[in-house]
């Protein structure tokens, strides 16, 4: 979809023709003043955007219709309060939470963690630290390593103490990924990408990875008595 329907742009990209404001900023500046918005190529919404929207809509309908034609929505027997299935599972998007509930006390897993996650999500944009998005290892590498390892140790101890391996192993993987740029001086490809990732991006990445892993465990790998089973 890279093709843009040709139409006349009225904004010149020739730098000499259009006068520009020039300013000099000190090194440490909030990001909103860092870059001047570069004039970009603008196109007409109609039809360029609209046609994409229509295609998108059609594709969404096609996909959903196709699934619906071949996969029937589940329907079990009439609800019976006397018959508790083993295990009783929440809808799949809450199974990560239910998996946590298995390891931690309900107040922590069922109330504190979801509320903290929502609060964390809400305050992300107001949380000014590292807003310039320095890479994690850009400054004071040793101190970062100590803080990072300390945090990881705490998370590991808590998760192992509560036998929450669904937390421990994803955390370990993320921790090891974070460490890669510290030991490998390579700055290209994936490692370069890792090097550029800021702390907040790592944290959100950790959260997403954990949510996905826990949800998958809860959906496919948990059977009677919330014990481990194989999905096949």
């Amino acid at each position: 979809m890279n093709n843009i329907i040709e139409n006349k742009t009225e904004v010149s990209t020739e730098p000499l023709k259009v006068p520009r404001r020039i300013a000099i900023f000190p090194k440490e500046t909030p990001v909103k003043f860092q870059k001047e918005i570069i004039e970009e190529k603008l196109v007409q919404s109609f039809p360029n955007l609209i046609i994409r929207e229509v295609i998108c809509f059609q594709l969404v309908v096609i996909v959903v219709t196709f699934i619906s034609l071949f996969v029937d929505a589940p329907l079990e027997e009439l609800a019976n309060p006397m018959n508790t299935p083993n295990p009783a599972k929440a809808p799949w998007y809450f199974l990560g939470l239910q998996e946590l509930l298995h390891s931690f006390p309900p107040l922590v897993a069922g109330v504190l963690i979801p509320i903290l996650v929502v609060i964390a999500l809400i305050i992300i944009p107001y949380f000014d630290i590292n807003i310039k998005r320095y890479g994690l290892w850009a400054k004071d590498r040793t101190r970062t390593l100590i803080y990072l390892s300390f945090s990881f140790t705490i998370v590991s101890i808590i998760s192992i103490l509560y036998k929450a391996y669904g937390i421990f192993f994803p955390s370990l993987i993320i921790y090891l990924m974070m460490l890669v740029p510290f030991f490998v001086p390579h700055r290209k490809g994936i490692i370069g990408w890792f090097y550029k990732m800021s702390l907040s991006e790592w944290i959100v990445g950790w959260f997403i990875f954990m949510a996905v892993v826990l949800t998958i465990i809860g959906t496919f790998f948990r059977g009677p008595g919330w014990g481990w089973v194989l999905p096949w």
């Binding site: 093709n3 046609i51 994409r52 059609q58 309908v61 096609i62 219709t65 196709f66 018959n83």
Partner: protein, 652 residues
């Protein structure tokens, strides 16, 4: 043309196509095919069958909470001409209920809401009540009815009998099923001669007697040893009478041929084989006697013959009025005849009891709920019943412990398998093995499937009047009890079904005849071997019973005057009517010739009272609902003449 436009074109076509095609799925539903093929199928018929208009059909019964869409495919249900058509077009066999009114699932189960074959009929994962197999359909009658005759629900009624016979109620609660007599085990150590017998019996009762009612508990060797030691230790007869001592002359006379012969005569005179069998021949009411002398002690056999109810409380065996000598002689006869010749007397040794057998014995006794059948008067015995079956048919599949079995999930499959191999569902099940025949399993399952809570509204229930129990008090009650009259006879349908109902016997039979019959019972019908055993009732007891019969077992409607004639020519006319007009002799023997279906009528005047003869001929079914004696509808004059003729058939 740019790439985006091509994409747009492709998605647009796909989009429109999919939206157009999706609803088509609806058109290819199975039920539409069935309706179409029904119409083309019936076109080929020589006669006219009403066409079905396309569309979904359902029966809705708001009271029963039923919405049944079965008739969407089963379109020929009420079309009599289609009785041989293939399913789903077959017409419904004639029944007493209008299916338009009652719906289908009320009897058949299955998922009435469904319009898909698999979902409607088969056991599916999320539907507890798949279609009831045809053989079990009669158990559905009991959702509204509570008592139906063998004509309607033969299998169910058979199952009920079996459940009664195998004494299922000793472990499972089931309403309306009486408990069978089972011997109590107080003093069993004085009854059983030989511990090895007990061991063999406990291992597998059916090896000793193929028709043994006690099931195989599949006890381990150690359990058997402990239990036999435990039981053998009960030499005292706590809380029940001790055995009668054998008369002193017994030991000297027991090998005497005349003495044994006296026993044999008494044995056959009392017709012990009415109830007992000997090597399978004879009655089925009591145990086979063939090896009894090798199992039970002499003293016990003697006591049993003398007064069974004293040493086996609750037993149905009647107490014969034998003298001590007769009883001793019968004992000697049994000792001489009914012996297991395979047992080598020398091998019978007293095996030493294992240590701690008493406590462990109680544990095993309680574990298998032996106390459910066999009373043992020690305080450690606890009731340890199996699950109650009162509402077994309401049981949801999730409530059933399936163990490791991989059955198709339905209740009837579970019941069948449970009855066949009771221990198949998990390690801790303790139900014993009965070795039922397939038909027995089917019958019991049919009965159990009828055991459920009422789910239908009150006004759908059909409840029969329950039979009133007959429980006379005082000395009559004790006499009835002593001779177990109600084991064979009934009073207003309460009691045994073997012999005639006694409720009107005072209006039916002559006192003198009954008195004689007590003394020498015989079979009224020449072709029927069964007859009442001779009970050796004392004269006083007989007279008391006769008084009671004539004052209580009376039908007041039979208390009227009959103008019977004594004139020979009119009696001759009655005879002609009997023999020629009504052809009674085709069934009844009189004057030495006639049929064998009904009882012989020579001397009938001695047996029956004239009002009874008169009323019976008038309407036999009024007095015995299932008799085949035809209601001839003869006129009053003929009736009186025949009654006079028959009444005249007497020696006095």
């Amino acid at each position: 043309m740019s790439k985006i436009k091509i994409i747009y074109a492709v998605t647009s076509i796909l989009f429109l196509l999919l939206l157009a095609v999706s609803p088509l799925k609806e058109i290819f539903k199975d039920w539409r095919n069935f309706q179409n093929s029904f119409n083309s199928y019936t076109d080929s018929f020589p006669f006219k069958v009403a066409k079905v208009d396309n569309g979904l059909k359902q029966i809705w019964n708001k009271n029963l909470g039923i919405i049944d869409r079965c008739i969407t495919c089963h379109v020929g249900l009420n079309e009599n001409k289609l009785s041989n058509a293939p399913q789903p077009f077959t017409s419904h066999p004639k029944i007493y209920h209008d299916n338009e009114k009652y719906g289908c699932t009320v009897c058949h189960d299955g998922q009435g809401l469904s319009t898909k074959y698999e979902d409607a009929h088969l056991p599916t994962e999320f539907w507890d009540k798949p279609l009831l197999p045809r053989k079990y359909i009669e158990s559905a009658c009991y959702r509204c009815h509570d008592d139906l005759s063998d004509k309607f629900t033969p299998l169910h009624n058979k199952g009920k009998e079996l459940i009664e016979k195998y004494n299922c109620v000793s472990c499972h609660d089931l309403p309306g099923i009486p408990k069978q007599y089972t011997p109590d085990l107080n003093g069993v150590g004085t009854k059983i001669k030989n511990k090895q017998w007990l061991i063999d019996w406990l291992k597998n009762p059916s090896l000793y007697a193929t028709n043994a009612r006690m099931p195989n508990f599949k006890l381990s060797e150690t359990e058997v040893t402990i239990l036999s030691d435990f039981l053998f230790s009960f030499k005292e007869r706590r809380n029940s009478q001790s055995l009668y001592p054998l008369p002193e002359y017994y030991n000297t006379l027991k090998k005497d041929e005349d003495f044994i012969k006296l026993g044999k005569v008494s044995f056959s005179e009392a017709r012990c084989i009415s109830c007992h069998s000997i090597e399978g021949k004879g009655g089925k009411l009591a145990i086979d006697l063939i090896k009894v002398a090798s199992k039970a002690s002499e003293k016990w056999i003697y006591s049993c013959i003398k007064n069974p109810k004293a040493i086996m409380p609750g037993v149905e065996m009647t107490q014969f009025g034998f003298s001590d000598k007769e009883a001793a002689a019968i004992t000697a006869y049994i000792e001489s005849e009914f012996v297991d010749w395979n047992i080598n007397e020398d091998e019978i040794q007293n095996i030493k009891p294992v240590t701690g057998y008493y406590e462990k014995g109680i544990e095993i006794y309680n574990k298998y709920n032996c106390g459910g059948c066999h009373k043992l008067d020690i305080k450690e015995i606890k009731e340890n019943k199996g699950p109650e079956l009162t509402t077994i048919s309401n049981k949801k599949l999730y409530q059933i412990e399936w163990g490791k079995s991989n059955l198709k999930h339905s209740l009837y499959e579970y019941l069948e398998n449970k009855l066949e191999t009771p221990r198949a569902f998990g390690e801790n099940t303790r139900m014993p093995e009965y070795k039922f025949y397939k038909e027995e399993i089917t019958a019991i399952t049919a009965y159990l499937l009828a055991q459920r809570n009422n789910e239908v509204p009150q006004n759908y229930l059909v409840r029969k009047n329950k039979v009133q129990p007959f429980k006379p008090q005082g000395v009559i009650g004790k006499t009835f009890e002593k001779y177990s009259c109600l084991k064979c006879h009934s009073v207003n349908d309460y009691g045994g079904k073997i012999a005639p109902d006694l409720a009107k016997v005072g209006s039916q039979l002559n006192r003198d005849w009954i008195r004689k019959y007590f003394n020498i019972p015989y079979s009224l019908r020449a072709i029927v071997e069964e007859r009442m055993p001779k009970l050796f009732i004392s004269t006083e007891e007989v007279e008391m019973l006769l008084d009671y019969f004539e004052s209580v077992f009376i039908d007041d409607n039979l208390d009227f005057k009959l103008n019977l004639t004594e004139k020979p020519e009119e009696l001759e006319k009655g005879k002609m009517l009997f023999k020629e007009k009504y052809g009674c002799q085709s069934c009844h023997i009189i004057d030495g010739s006639g049929g064998y279906v009904g009882p012989p009528l020579d001397n009938v005047g001695e047996r029956l009272k004239p009002t009874w003869i008169y009323s019976w001929i008038k309407n036999p079914q009024k007095y015995k609902a299932n008799t085949i004696d035809p209601k001839t509808g003869m006129n009053e004059e003929d009736l009186l003449l025949i009654t006079s003729y028959l009444f005249h058939k007497r020696s006095w």
